[in-house]
Symmetry: C2
Subunit: 394 residues, 2 copies
């Protein structure tokens, strides 16, 4: 007498969460230092000190009843204004509080967007492999729509436009993009964005309704080379909804604070914003956590010390290549997505697990033959794990 | 091309949230002191100092990466253990971490339970008027099931068992109870609980599957008289799921921290717990906010200074009776639910709104003719609003 869909999802859990729980159990037995957990994108770099200072200032100067009380469902006006101002300063936009809906992290933001745009069980959301696996759960079980997966273009993890073009049809409601990408670390080039937005405009005109671009951007600020630019998608395509989270930029993954950005340029802006609010209500979110709304207002635009991720990337990338793994160099996020030598990613991950080395099979991200390595860990953890990667490559 | 259900919910919003937003707008114009906002259950009594001390201690002693990082989806083990220990000490139970699933507040806990128990669109959840109006949204739009409302028994706001008995059928999955009650302030007596659990056991046997009792308990600790006891329902009925929130007891409504308690006694315990986890995943919750998991672990069982609510209750109750309102004296929570003299609650609330006095029509809670007054405000606000209540009674 239980909902079979949620029972199955609860029994299987996500591979990532399963590995994370396994790692915590093993750590209790063999010590945290002896677990090489590259399974989850849980930032190891601490939140910037500004976060702590903001919390202290808020606790010492604001009324607790205000700080910890309900805000309006879309988020406190001052917090949305502050975040809009930060975006405007960085991207030359002119957003206001009315363009933002604060959320319980990016997962909530995405769930809300899928729910908002789903009008029938035939509705389709296009997902580009390799993808964050929970997209499929949020689209199919959460919103009751269909996820249409475009296979990975594994040479450089840009987009296979030929397949994408074929798969767009009148049921297509939106395409989800995630750049910098989890799990590949790829950043879409300006050329990719140009091709994508041209295609979406042409197809929207052809099918007679807008195809939305849902931009999942938790890794926006996590890029490591001076010549890597992350295009700001709402400035390139009018029907863009941005799903943002402070999880990675401020190392606040557990605090669940993010937003949906709804630009004035989206078709039927006012209705879309209202539907976003309605979806948040249906999903039981009430409001984004109130203390961290204030923290985000003060710290939006800052980042944790990302230099550690860059160092980790370079160390890991050079070593894996030397060991014979085939790997595209990540431009951003904190994941590496090498091919495993024998292309059996599941077997590789099982063998690795026996060594207390936790990595996630690429098939979970829609790209078998690869593994995802989250390098948001201490550099020393990578250094000590390298011999295991070398051993596993043989 | 928007989901019509969420669009409608977003455009209408809840009356309570609408009034709350109206109050904030008016406060910006005429000053917060000149708005008499009794619309929302946003605790005015500050969080106990222990909350601030807990946050400071956590920030000063714990690693930020741990404090603000992901926890397991069901909540950090140590936090669940601490909360179980608190319950055990207070209620003579023997729960462990495995009985708790921490949530983004009680709204999430309820949404998760409804989703978990819904197996078909014919499934029914029984709601007793007067009820928290979002129950209907979570059941119907959130879980895709049916809400069956039992009309209010307005003499003392206990339960109309005759009607309830008639409405239970093989589609009945659960009954939602909320004692102390929002909006009536009633607390179910031990006799009510005995009749209810006897009925549920008999009907479960009759229809051949368990009927769950979903106990929504954000007001558990908010009772004002020495002789008022709130029965701990899992000790009275084996298939009880408790949905708890620290919103009111610790005045943390905006922080979204609560739990589902799943006792070992529920039918198919392990599957039920797994399905709860799956439902949380489908709804995009990821994990309950991590800093406040730690705060709850340290502060579970404490309360804000509830004496102010008692003072407010007595002041308001005596005055309203003197003005000719008919009112059942609230035993708990921080709401009063008087009848309005001409029984037209909507018109009353409109007239009140013209005076910047914000109260919610009883029809929103399934009991027209009444109004809900949230007295979780400063006592002075009540004192200054009394002449308006007197004027409106005429």
């Amino acid at each position: 007498m239980l909902n079979p869909t949620v029972l199955e999802l609860g029994q299987k859990r996500s591979t990532i969460r399963e590995l994370f729980a396994f790692g915590q159990q093993r750590a209790a037995i063999v010590g945290a230092d002896n677990i090489f957990d590259f399974s989850i994108g849980n930032p190891n770099v601490p939140a910037p000190d500004a976060v702590k200072q903001a919390i202290l200032e808020i606790l010492n100067t604001e009324s607790p009843a205000l700080t910890h009380g309900y805000t309006s469902a879309q988020g406190a006006d001052f917090a949305r204004t502050a975040i809009a101002n930060d975006l405007n300063a960085r991207f030359g936009t002119s957003y206001g509080a009315h363009n933002l809906y604060l959320t319980v992290g990016a997962a909530a933001a995405l769930s809300i967007c899928f729910k908002t745009l789903t009008t029938s069980p035939q509705d389709e959301f296009i997902v580009l492999a390799p993808y964050f696996p929970e997209y499929l759960v949020f689209i199919e079980q959460g919103a009751g729509a269909r996820a249409v997966v475009i296979p990975a273009q594994t040479t450089d993890f840009q987009i296979d436009f030929e397949t994408l073009t074929q798969r767009i049809n009148p049921n297509t409601r939106a395409i989800v993009v995630n750049s910098p990408n989890n799990p590949s670390g790829a950043v879409y080039t300006p050329e990719t964005i140009q091709l994508l937005t041209d295609l979406l405009r042409a197809k929207s005109a052809e099918i007679g309704h807008p195809i939305f671009l849902i931009s999942d951007e938790p890794y926006r600020e996590l890029v490591y080379d001076a010549d890597t630019v992350v295009p700001f998608l709402p400035s390139h395509y009018e029907n863009t909804l941005v799903c943002y989270s402070y999880s990675k930029s401020l190392s606040l993954a557990g605090e669940r604070i993010g937003y949906v950005l709804i630009p004035d340029s989206v078709t039927d802006f006012e209705q879309t914003y209202a539907a976003i609010c309605g979806a948040g209500r249906v999903l039981g979110y009430v409001n984004a956590p109130s203390l961290f709304q204030r923290v985000a207002a003060q710290c939006s635009g800052l980042t944790a010390d990302l230099s550690i991720y860059r160092k980790n990337r370079d160390l890991l990338y050079d070593a894996l290549n030397a060991y014979g793994y085939s790997c595209t160099k990540p431009k951003g996020a904190f994941y590496m997505f090498p091919q495993v030598p024998d292309l059996d990613d599941a077997a590789f991950c099982e063998r690795a697990k026996q060594l207390d080395l936790l990595v996630v099979p690429g098939r979970d991200f829609g790209a078998a033959g690869h593994i995802r390595i989250s390098y948001c860990v201490q550099t020393e953890t990578i250094e000590r794990a390298l011999p295991l990667f070398e051993q596993l490559a043989r």
